[in-house]
Symmetry: C2
Subunit: 186 residues, 2 copies
């Protein structure tokens, strides 16, 4: 079974007009995705933001849950947030991950948009079950990841589809569905 | 195919000590679960809170997305939030739903806790596909629904399980996984 890692990128991402921007760090993203990651056995959840002041803010919030009042108020939250590592961007995340795991991970890009060469959830689930290589699932904020990131993919995952044509899940909800499809009990 | 409805209850719910409380309304719950509901073809998403001031606040926020600046800034959000109806509690929700659909819905209780008489996701998925009765999926906030609510269930759904024993998904994430398991493209 491959070790699974997540990264949430805030730059470079698209805004609704297709411009490349840096999105704001959202506290709820860290909490929700950490809890999802902990549920589905993810090894580490990297939150990448290029602005140091926001990383410092995130560290302060996490400290509340790790050693502050939150650590005794809600131990399940402390448990989930222990998976979070703050990073600068995708490259710094890859360096950290490679240093920790000893291997360069396979990059799995998630997207709400369809396109050529998408890998199905079933195929990636099988790949994860039979692989020894670490896999890094890449999630974008804002209106999604840029071509610059997508082009680096080893795998581009098919979009999550329901029975409608609406494809605007929050990244928190999308991460939950994607991990459930890849690692949920069947 | 059965019409599917959701309700998010804020009273009566449990706190972490098992006491019955009223939880606060969370803006992100409304947005995330509305987007999930819209993705998976849910007919209506009821947000039930007994405190009128909080329902008024929620209505004001929704107005921003329905007719205010948000309605042109992000039409996909307007689309999702159009499914939301504010209610007082489970009983007022059932009255409204029965008036709109002409039928009393089957009550499907969700819970992160296991127990006797749980219905599997597969079984409920089949039931929804072959039924003409509306089904109302009930989600709790805080630390979950009380026995008073659970006892009214026609169906108690099995908990969402990953490969770990951690069962503390946010209600936003749990709603996404549950709807994907019941209605996601297969």
């Amino acid at each position: 079974m491959a070790d699974l890692y997540l990264v949430l990128l805030h730059h470079p991402v698209l805004d609704k007009n297709g411009q490349i921007v840096t999105s704001a760090l959202t506290n709820m993203d860290i909490h929700d995705i950490a809890r999802t990651a902990r549920t589905y056995g993810v090894r580490q959840f990297y939150v990448a933001h290029p602005v140091k002041a926001l990383r410092v803010l995130a560290a302060k919030i996490m400290e509340h849950w790790d050693t502050g009042y939150g650590s005794t108020y809600n131990v399940t939250r402390k448990d989930a947030l222990s998976l979070v590592r703050l990073e600068h961007d995708l490259d710094s995340t890859l360096l950290t991950l490679e240093r920790e795991s000893g291997m360069r991970p396979r990059l799995v890009i998630t997207s709400a948009r369809g396109g050529p060469n998408r890998t199905t959830f079933g195929a990636l689930r099988e790949q994860l079950a039979s692989s020894d290589e670490p896999h890094l699932l890449v999630f974008g904020t804002g209106w999604g990841l840029t071509a610059e990131i997508t082009e680096r993919a080893d795998v581009i995952l098919e979009p999550v589809c329901g029975p409608t044509d609406y494809n605007h899940l929050s990244v928190r909800s999308a991460a939950a569905v994607i991990l459930d499809r890849l690692c949920g009990a069947r």
